[in-house]
């Protein structure tokens, strides 16, 4: 690897940086090529591309957080191991990706529920208005009958009845139109939800397969991990290797994994970058 800190150049499989640059900055530089810290120091690392396991145990330092089993499964992957669930997982992921593409390519369905709010509002208003006008028609009709029975003039009331009936008919038409709009929207939404349902089913399936694959991979390197935990310098042998402190577990996982890209090590578990590199079997930058 070639590691530059500002103008200073370091090369080799084991590099020691004595100075002000922090381990996290160096680890970022390993992953992204270049990184600068808050103090303005720039680190550039030229090395092989890191495997995903690097995200888990590419920066070994006191206070690091680690989900041991997840990291160990990634370490098993870095060793080229596979899980029995892989073929199913690959297929499920492909189908999921296809659905996601389809959804992004198609009409955005997420606004549908709200865009029909207008039609729902029109329908509710039209129904309320229909009820009101029906009552009015009935009232006016009653008045008309009464006037006829008593032989009074009916022209005005007839005109009023005709107007009310016309209003009623209009608002009924409006209600039907809103209802039809809603039904069309409902059919579209149902199709969208069929797709959403399939996506959810696949997401659950992928998550489930991933969990099972992780468990299978962890199982395959469990013994190697337990042996590595027992040999991490500076710790006693714990009863349960999965209960080791994060830094110890991180070293053990990193020893189980195989690295192309350099691992960043800080602290005093190893006296030199070379010692850490030999123990881990990986290129190392010691900070």
């Amino acid at each position: 690897m070639i590691c530059r800190v500002d103008d200073a150049v370091h090369t080799g499989r084991a590099v020691s940086l004595s100075g002000d640059v922090g381990p996290a900055t160096v680890a970022t530089a390993v992953r992204e090529g270049v990184a600068s810290d808050a103090g303005g120091t720039t680190v550039a690392v030229t090395a092989r591309t890191p495997h995903p396991v690097h995200e888990r145990v590419g920066c070994l330092r006191a206070g690091m957080a680690l989900r041991v089993r997840t990291a160990l499964a990634a370490a098993a992957r870095a060793r080229g191991l596979s899980a029995p669930q892989d073929p199913l997982l690959r297929r499920a992921r492909q189908r999921l990706a296809a659905i996601r593409d389809e959804r992004e390519g198609g009409v955005a369905g997420d606004g549908a529920a709200l865009s029909t709010a207008d039609a729902r509002q029109r329908l509710a208003a039209a129904r309320a208005e229909t009820d009101r006008l029906r009552e009015r028609v009935a009232t006016v009709r009653g008045r008309l009958q009464a006037r006829e029975e008593y032989g009074l003039a009916t022209e005005d009331v007839r005109a009023e009845l005709a107007a009310a009936a016309r209003d009623l008919s209009e608002v009924e038409t409006e209600a039907v139109a809103a209802q039809q709009t809603l039904e069309r929207a409902r059919r579209r939404t149902r199709e969208t939800r069929d797709t959403l349902e399939e996506r959810l089913r696949l997401e659950d399936r992928v998550a489930n397969l991933e969990r099972r694959a992780r468990r299978a991979l962890t199982e395959r390197v469990r013994d190697a991990y337990a042996a590595a935990v027992a040999e991490v310098p500076g710790t006693g042998e714990p009863d349960d290797p999965f209960a080791a402190d994060a830094l110890t577990a991180g070293f053990a996982v990193a020893r189980v994994a195989e690295f192309d890209a350099p691992v960043v090590v800080s602290g005093d578990r190893f006296e030199s970058a070379r010692a850490a590199s030999r123990w881990l079997g990986a290129p190392v930058v010691r900070v």
């Binding site: 549908a112 529920a113 709200l114 939404t189 969208t192 959403l196 349902e197 959810l200 997401e203």
Partner: protein, 112 residues
Amino acid sequence: MLLVIAYSRGARGSLRNVTRAHEECVVRTFGRVALFAATEFGAFQALRLREKHGTEIQIEWTEPFNEFDRLRADVRDAVRVYESREEPATPYEKFAAGRDLPDPETMRGREL
């Protein structure tokens, strides 16, 4: 009651949170589906979910089903006769064929 169905992981998570936090307005939950009480507060919670998740939340209004109100007597009778049949393996279609019972095709085409 209000039937609330979630169609994504995010919507399912929110629905679960609401049903846990507001048991008083939840009548039943089944995985990513819940029945909310027909109260303003039940509607408030259901609409809040839809406001947040759009199409990924479906809300339907449900009411108790009264077959005497919604269904013709022939179909109700067919239910009773078919469920008390002596040969349990006979499918309804075959069972109805020789008797004076509504055929399934007709029933499929008739809305309640």
